[in-house]
Amino acid sequence: MQNIEYAIEFKNLNKTFKGHTVLENLNFNIARGKITTILGFSGAGKSTLIKHTLGLLTPTSGDVVVMGQNLNDLDPFQMREFRQKFGMLFQYAALFDSFTNFENIAFPLREFSPMSESQIEEKVLSLVEACGLTPESVHKLPSEISGGMRKRVGLARALALTPEILLYDEPTTGLDPITTKMVNDLIRDTAINNKERQLTSVIISHDVDATLKISDYVAFLDKGRIVEHLPVAEFRQSTNPLVRRFLEL
C-alpha cells in the first residue's frame, strides 16, 4: 500500500465557466483514511469540486492530485481506468431503474472485473450483507424499495470495486430523521469496516447536524474558496463569521 498522507490535493485550482469564476485559487488537501465533509451554501462550487476530483471536469488552471496521481497527466482512457479508484453514492442513489438491485450492484463487477458469474454473485451477496440489505430485496427493482434501501444498494454498488475513495453527494438531503440516522450510521460503519485499507470518505453536504456527527474533518466552501478546513471539534468552535452563520442556521 502506498504511503500517501493526502488522498486528494487541490493545488491553485481555478475553474471558470463563460467568464464566471466557480472555483478560485483553491488550495486544500483531503486526509487519507478519514471522513471529510465539504459544507457550503448552494452554488458554492461543491459539485464542481467533486467533478474535478473525478476528472469529469478539467481545471481552467491548477492541479488535482488523487492518491499521488496528477489528473492533468492522464489521457481520457487512463482517466476512465483511474475512476475505478472511486465509488460514489449519489443524492438519490442513481440506480439503473431497468436493472434489479442485484444487477445494479453487479454492474461494475461485470464491467471491470475478471470475475466469473458465480464469483460475482458471491461478492454481491457479501456486499448486500455488509450494507444491511435483505437478500430478498436484491432481486427487486429499485422502484420497489424505499429511499433508505436504495441508498444501501447505491452504497453496495459504490463499494463493489473496493474503491480507495468514497464520495457521498448530499447523502442525507431530503430524508426523514430515521433514514438520515440510518444513512449516517452506514457511512460511519463503512469507514470503520474499511479503516484497515484506509478508505477515504468525502461527503458533500449542507446538512450540518448530520455532518458534525460523523466527520473527522470539515471544510467550508464559499464562492469557490475554502474559507475553513479543520478537525470537526475545532470546526464547531470556528470564529469565521460565515461558518458561524451556517452553524447557527
Binding site: L54, Q84, L95, F96
Partner: protein, 267 residues
C-alpha cells in the same frame, strides 16, 4: 425618434446575431456528438447484448405498426392511382406505380417517420430520464462511457433495423395494393404482375433501402443527442423528447430530397 428607431434596429440585429450564434454552436455540439458516436462505435468493448436488445425494441416491436401502416398506405395508393389513371384508361399501371412509389419514397420515409415517432421519442425519454436522475453520471463515475453504453447500441440498431422495416413496409404495402387492385378494383392479376416486373428495377428497391439506412442513423443520433442534452427534470425530458421527434422527422424529410438527388445520379 431617430434614437428610438436605431435602438430598435440594434436590438433586432443583436437578437438575430444571438440566434445565429446559438444555432451554430448547437450544430457544432451536435456534430461533436456524432463524431463521438463514430469514435466509440469502433472501440471495444462491443456491447452485443445491448445491441440485440435495441434491435428487438426498434425492429421487432415496430413490425406491427409498420405492417399496419404499410397495408393501408399501399391500399389507399392503389385506390387513388386507380381513380386518377382510370380517366386515361391506364388503370392497369396501378401495380408498378404503387410499387415504385413504395420502394423509392413511401417505404423509407413512412418507416422513418414511424420509427422517429415511436423509437426516437422512447430513446430521448430513456436517456433524458437517466440524465436527470444522475444515472448517466453514475455510468461516467464508474468509468463507463455513457455515449458508448447508451448511444452506440441504439444508433447501430436503428441504422440496421430501419432498412429491414422499410423492406417489410414495401412487401406489406404491395400486398395491400395487390389486394385492392386485383380483388376490389378487378384489375387482371397477370397484367398487374407483368407490369410490376416490367417497370420496377432492383435499383428502385436499393434506393429506398439506402435512404432507410441513413434515416435510421439520423433519427437515432438526433434522439440520443436530445436525450443527452436534457436538463431540468420532467419538463426537460418532455422538451427533449419533443425535439427528438420533431427534428427526427424534419431532418428525415430534408435529407430525403438530398439523398434522392444523389442516388438517382449514382444508381
Amino acid at each position: 425618434m431617430v434614437t428610438k428607431s436605431s435602438n430598435k434596429i440594434t436590438e433586432i440585429v443583436e437578437w438575430f446575431g444571438a440566434e445565429v450564434l446559438d444555432n451554430l454552436s448547437g450544430l457544432g455540439a451536435f456534430m461533436r456528438f456524432v463524431g463521438q458516436v463514430f469514435y466509440w462505435m469502433v472501440k471495444p468493448p462491443f456491447r452485443t447484448k445491448l445491441l440485440f436488445e435495441q434491435l428487438y425494441f426498434i425492429g421487432n416491436k415496430s413490425l406491427f405498426i409498420v405492417g399496419l401502416t404499410a397495408s393501408f398506405s399501399g391500399a389507399v395508393m392503389a385506390y387513388q392511382t386507380y381513380l386518377g389513371f382510370k380517366v386515361i384508361s391506364a388503370d392497369s399501371f396501378i401495380g408498378p406505380i404503387v410499387a415504385i412509389s413504395l420502394a423509392k419514397e413511401l417505404a423509407p420515409v413512412l418507416s422513418g417517420l414511424i420509427v422517429a415517432g415511436r423509437c426516437g421519442a422512447a430513446i430521448a425519454a430513456q436517456i433524458g430520464t437517466m440524465k436527470v436522475t444522475e444515472q448517466v453520471d453514475a455510468l461516467e463515475v464508474m468509468g463507463v462511457d455513457s455515449i458508448q453504453y447508451l448511444a452506440v447500441p441504439r444508433v447501430v440498431a436503428a441504422t440496421l433495423a430501419l432498412p429491414l422495416l422499410a423492406a417489410v413496409f414495401l412487401l406489406v404495402g404491395n400486398i395491400g395494393s395487390w389486394l385492392i387492385g386485383t380483388k376490389v378494383l378487378q384489375i387482371d392479376e397477370v397484367m398487374y404482375f407483368s407490369k410490376v416486373s416490367s417497370f420496377m428495377y432492383v435499383q428502385d428497391i436499393m434506393e429506398g433501402l439506402i435512404k432507410a439506412f441513413f434515416f435510421g442513423f439520423l433519427i437515432s443520433v438526433i434522439a440520443c443527442y436530445h436525450g443527452f442534452k436534457v436538463s431540468g427534470g420532467a419538463e426537460g425530458v418532455g422538451r427533449g423528447t419533443n425535439m427528438a421527434v420533431v427534428w427526427g422527422m424534419v431532418i428525415c424529410l430534408i435529407f430525403d430530397f438530398f439523398l434522392t438527388s444523389f442516388l438517382v445520379q449514382v444508381l
